[in-house]
Symmetry: C2
Subunit: 870 residues, 2 copies
Amino acid sequence: MYVFDFSTGDGTNKDLLGGKGAGLATMTAIGLPVPPGFTLSTEACRRYLAEGEVPAVLWDEVRAARERLEAATGRRLGATGGPPLLLSVRSGAKFSMPGMMDTVLNLGINDEVVGPLADWAGDEHFAWDAYRRFVQTYAKVVLRVDDREFERILSDLRSARGVDDDASLTADDLEQATRRFQQVVAAADKEIPDDPDEQLRAAITAVFSSWTNRRARDYRRLNRIDDDLGTACNVQMMVFGDLGDDSGTGVCFTRDPATGEAVSYGDYLPNAQGEDVVAGIRNTLRLEDLAERHPEHHAHLVEVMGTLERHYSDMCDIEFTIERETLWILQTRVGKRTAQAAVRIAVEMANEWMIDRATALLRVEPNSLDAMLHPRIAEGIDIEPLTVGLDASPGAASGVAVFSADRAVEVKESGSDVVLVRWETNPDDIHGLAAAEGVLTSHGGKTSHAAVVARGMGKAAVTGAADIEVDEAAGRFSVGDVTVSAGDIITIDGGTGRVFLGELPLVDPEPSPELEILLGWADEVRRLGVRANADDGPSAEVARNWGAEGIGLARTEHMFMGDRLPVVRSIILSHEAEQALDELVKLQTDDFTELLTAMDGLPVIVRLLDPPLHEFLPDRIDLLLRRRDMAAGSDTTELDRMIDAVTRLDETNPMMGLRGVRLGVIHPELYQAQVRAAMEAVRRCIDAGGDPKLELMIPLVSHKDELTHVVELVQEIIDASGVRIPIPVGTMIEIPRAALQAAEIAAHADFFSFGTNDLTQMAYGISRDDAERAFLDQYVADGILPSNPFAHVDQTGVGRLVELATREGKASRPNLEIGVCGEHGGDPESIAFFHRMGLDYVSCSPPRVPIARLAAAHAALGESSDRSSI
Amino acid sequence: MYVFDFSTGDGTNKDLLGGKGAGLATMTAIGLPVPPGFTLSTEACRRYLAEGEVPAVLWDEVRAARERLEAATGRRLGATGGPPLLLSVRSGAKFSMPGMMDTVLNLGINDEVVGPLADWAGDEHFAWDAYRRFVQTYAKVVLRVDDREFERILSDLRSARGVDDDASLTADDLEQATRRFQQVVAAADKEIPDDPDEQLRAAITAVFSSWTNRRARDYRRLNRIDDDLGTACNVQMMVFGDLGDDSGTGVCFTRDPATGEAVSYGDYLPNAQGEDVVAGIRNTLRLEDLAERHPEHHAHLVEVMGTLERHYSDMCDIEFTIERETLWILQTRVGKRTAQAAVRIAVEMANEWMIDRATALLRVEPNSLDAMLHPRIAEGIDIEPLTVGLDASPGAASGVAVFSADRAVEVKESGSDVVLVRWETNPDDIHGLAAAEGVLTSHGGKTSHAAVVARGMGKAAVTGAADIEVDEAAGRFSVGDVTVSAGDIITIDGGTGRVFLGELPLVDPEPSPELEILLGWADEVRRLGVRANADDGPSAEVARNWGAEGIGLARTEHMFMGDRLPVVRSIILSHEAEQALDELVKLQTDDFTELLTAMDGLPVIVRLLDPPLHEFLPDRIDLLLRRRDMAAGSDTTELDRMIDAVTRLDETNPMMGLRGVRLGVIHPELYQAQVRAAMEAVRRCIDAGGDPKLELMIPLVSHKDELTHVVELVQEIIDASGVRIPIPVGTMIEIPRAALQAAEIAAHADFFSFGTNDLTQMAYGISRDDAERAFLDQYVADGILPSNPFAHVDQTGVGRLVELATREGKASRPNLEIGVCGEHGGDPESIAFFHRMGLDYVSCSPPRVPIARLAAAHAALGESSDRSSI
């Protein structure tokens, strides 16, 4: 069976009836005033798309349903005596795809029917308007006639009549429009059948076909909706809101979809059809106005809203039409809402006992919280962006464009907000990023240096804005023929990747007591711990305020930057720089003390130095050019020494080079200095009455013997420090080989932390520095990869390594603590995966801590978080 | 029990008795004239080393054995009446470690014994010489006294006497030497005990301790001998070859160890102890001379040689001493031999039915064949090398040093052999490598471009000679204060990494009919197929002559080099270079035709373009410097365009960048052109009556969908070509993710070929361009890694991916053919692993084909090839 009357369909079966069809069946079942009709199932659509024709029995079933409908309404399709039945034919997929597919209204009208319709309505104008609307839509949707001609005809008629809108045309005008439309159709060698049954069959197949049109496919790809689902098709008796000022049509929500406040909210347009509301030509009235004009309809509507909200236990979005004395409900669905509203509605409904807390948690998409936690561009701003880059770190920021980190600090100190604009950033720029409101780069992906650091600091970032040509030396950038110079103000939106000229009004995030409550509930159900990746005291404090239960990753390399760079360089240039090392230990001790103090009582995992040494030296090309330009006879000793060192350390593939534990093996003095500093910080914290919980982590291990070698080195210094509390020493699992050898490595590590960024790079053989620009973005756009594996962990490939290493690591050492500290630690879809893999915690950038808490709760509730549950 | 008399020990138990002890027990058992004695087992040594003292019962067992020895010989240790018993105390490990551990001779002598010894020998000189030798050795070995003082004393005595050698000193001189030696010992606050039992115990523990001395440990590391084995200790009655001209000592081989010819071969030194033969002070006589002087001893020795060779079924190395009327056999072992001799002996012994063919195959180390297949530096050349780099491609080469590929071609064409010297080579240098006899680079490891290409062409290569400073522009290189200019002649030895100034005499490899026979036997037993990595017709012919059963990897990138580079550049710089592509197709068609013709009837796997595009463009730094130096006002358009392109294509980590299948996705026109050319070549071969077996391989696949995407592209062109024979299309497995997803990928691939170079890079997270220099060499030297994973496949990590992909790939597609085409395909240890994993074939550089054939046979015979079986 392919056809189901609203009065008999199963309102819970969205798979078969689509969202709209299920809603109509439900509302019919609970006694709401729904215009009668029937639904052709998604199965019919799938068979039509697969086989190129509808199932043999379909038209018989449609005819029978049409006859039942005529019996129920007392009207007949194509009736020339008595009130004629007109139909709407609408798509309705399982997941809402608003406006993506086709609709035919007023179906059943023809030259014979238009007269009886006018008689029934007592309104010639209405009848001819219905006819011309039908011809126009049918021609466009079913016959694929170019509809610009129709607009031209209407425009001509309006000019002739000297009016602005179609409603002001006369019945004669509309008749003339209808006839001219029919001529256009004939000229295109097409024909609109007079037989209403024929019209119906053609409209149904057109609706089914529209599942595969270009914009529907694009929408599904963007929203990750399965192409194989198909759409249902709803055939329903037309009701008319355009029968005069006592009629009208509207949309309402059972709660405020912007704030979540428990007050109904809606728009109403008298003497109009639904499409007029959508078109936005006339200003709509508020529900309060309806209460004044038609108190009985308003009261009825309020009652319906209550019924529906109680039925769905959720905020509903309702379309209604008032046809003279009757209120009709045309559609309902669970309403879209802002993140803020979602949180408030979920918490309030749970407090009202409408839903349980688990349901409340699942009602809020973790990723949607981002919008609540960062400044955003004020709503209603409709300015064309200068360009669009990657949405690398959420939030909006306005400020003076500056082109160097030093300049960012200067301008910020002079009192102006700044946006740092760079080709790409590197660890040298940290102080500039700290001073800026946001950062804009023309290169680098969503895991580039700028992106990672900005997310860590909770700053806005747009990266990889490839249309931008940055001239850092000249202090300007250009997009096409627009040039922005240092000192000009720009605005960036890191949540969408948009870049604007000038200062746009920003809205700060509002505190949400409901969010605090919801996250508290999340903490009660989640099993995964949530820690933060934070490198300094202030970031750690931010993370703790957001609920982080420790630091899963403190990178120590920034401690080598800024003022300290000359010290670090002198160590790299001469291995025996004892004094320089002592200096560094002193400075790092302060860093670690700050970090441990901010996270007092909670674990703080310090990762020993990871990046290749040449990152601490100047750029090789710059040095070579400088050397070339030196005047004859000048002293080049120092420069040559630097060039030699940079050349010696230059690597073809630095990502796979001398970094991480390899540095610890080849230059043990660096790791020793870091551990000395960390242990001294622990001692200081203890002396100050604190409860420091330091853990040390060795990066980039690929073979157990390099781990044991360095662990021994580290342990010696721990032992020599005189500190008596246990200091766990663990390793990152970020090289595929380490995952494959997890059992052996676990024997020598107190804990594992998956570095899924590097693990993805190596397992996939893609460099995050280059891949997005070079091919990855195109791969995702072309559907060769389902998603960017740096955004969502690749569960079948990289994930298999995670699964294997977790299983074998825990088998080898049952109390092995396993977390993840890569970017994926803040991605809800990935968090659900890590939960299933049995990890102990995730660690993410501080602003994503609330998101991770909620995502971990979703995971524990057994829900996959990768799809909206709404 | 720790002590075994030679007459009761188990001669097959080398683990317990060591090689020497087992040989002595065997020879005693088969009735050869062995001086009696006993062996302390390796177990005693291991316990001594582990516990710091010998097992409690050991000295009791030694005393009992000494008493049995006295009873058997009728002599007594420390005897003052009657002939005294003197002992030798020698180490003897399971695997021969010649000269690495300690020995004490003439043990048992003291002030009381020296007189009776002189009486027994009738020779004062002999007795005092024995005494001074004992004191000298005991002081050095047991007491660790610096022995330079002893040499000075002997030197003084020789001067005083006006003679050149110690043998010409008088008995008085030797007595005086002994006394002075004793004073040196006393001055060092040490003492040599008079009690022979005490001497014996001290000598035994000294021998055990010598297992752990520095040179022994180094030797074991180099020869990959387990440090835990320990050594046995052999205590044996001294016999004397220095009792006059009727006595003597010598070494002989049952066959010629240099050529393998079945004639006995040896050295004999009259009136001497064994150490004098080793010292090489006096010229030795040949066995023929012994036959003349002492025909009865010679005949006896020949009989012994026959007995031993038959017993061991192998060529034996025998030490003997003639003590007046008696021939004594002191030691035997299976003799070391050259590769050529090993092959000849194995084949001839099998033909003589002494051994079976399996044993013959296992007698030859696959890697040793290298020395037979390439020119080498003539023996006896003892010149200090200028420097030593990496042994990157075997063989020796002499020629004029040149510093550019073009110059290499010019000089070669003028009639001189050349050695190309470069900082590093790149694909631009191919024609220079082809013209040169060998290549020397200061950078790059054993899998660098120069190394890989040289091995493929069978040319000598020394890479990564880090002491060398190459100034290509100036046409010279320097090592310390030695400068070598273009035009100077140098010699390199790619088998050892040595670099010499000047032309050294080279020996060409000699044809070996026995090798042909042996490899034929190998082909009969091996299960793995052996193919070659070859990129052009001549290489393919060489490979086929060496027995390759097809081409496992034909790289196509060199086809883009040389004359064709401008065409390729124009394609890269403008995507729509239709005409340039057509040109390229024409040229590549010739390449492919040549390759398919050379391998007619055998499979030829052509890998589509793999390297990143920027490899085809000039160096970025060069371009930037050139741009900087251009005169104001000159036209920079062309250069700027090139700089833009190079900058656009520049990648931070090119190894993980836009290459392989990613190129095929992003620039489909390149793959399409290659496939068109390959199909046209197939058509030509068929038209010429040939039997081309083309297969196409997609590199760097990490996700099944990128494979299916490109396979579709490729298949379209195959279908359009009109060629009707099947063209399998497969993929490389060289990205960890591909291995982890082998089942899914196998569904879309006709075959797999493991690219273990890249797989090692990614799985280990190490870049072969940088790693050796940066840390890998140090890792191996420090024992953090057991071996360089680019030389021998990492079985536990990378190997686990191979195992998993093979198992799951074959499960998904049972007829999936799986090979390996990385460098490991020519490494015997890796080949044994691939055999165990159930692969179908290995593919290696043409000169390693014979090695791979033999190694595959070893693998099939169930032997691990990673340890000498001798």
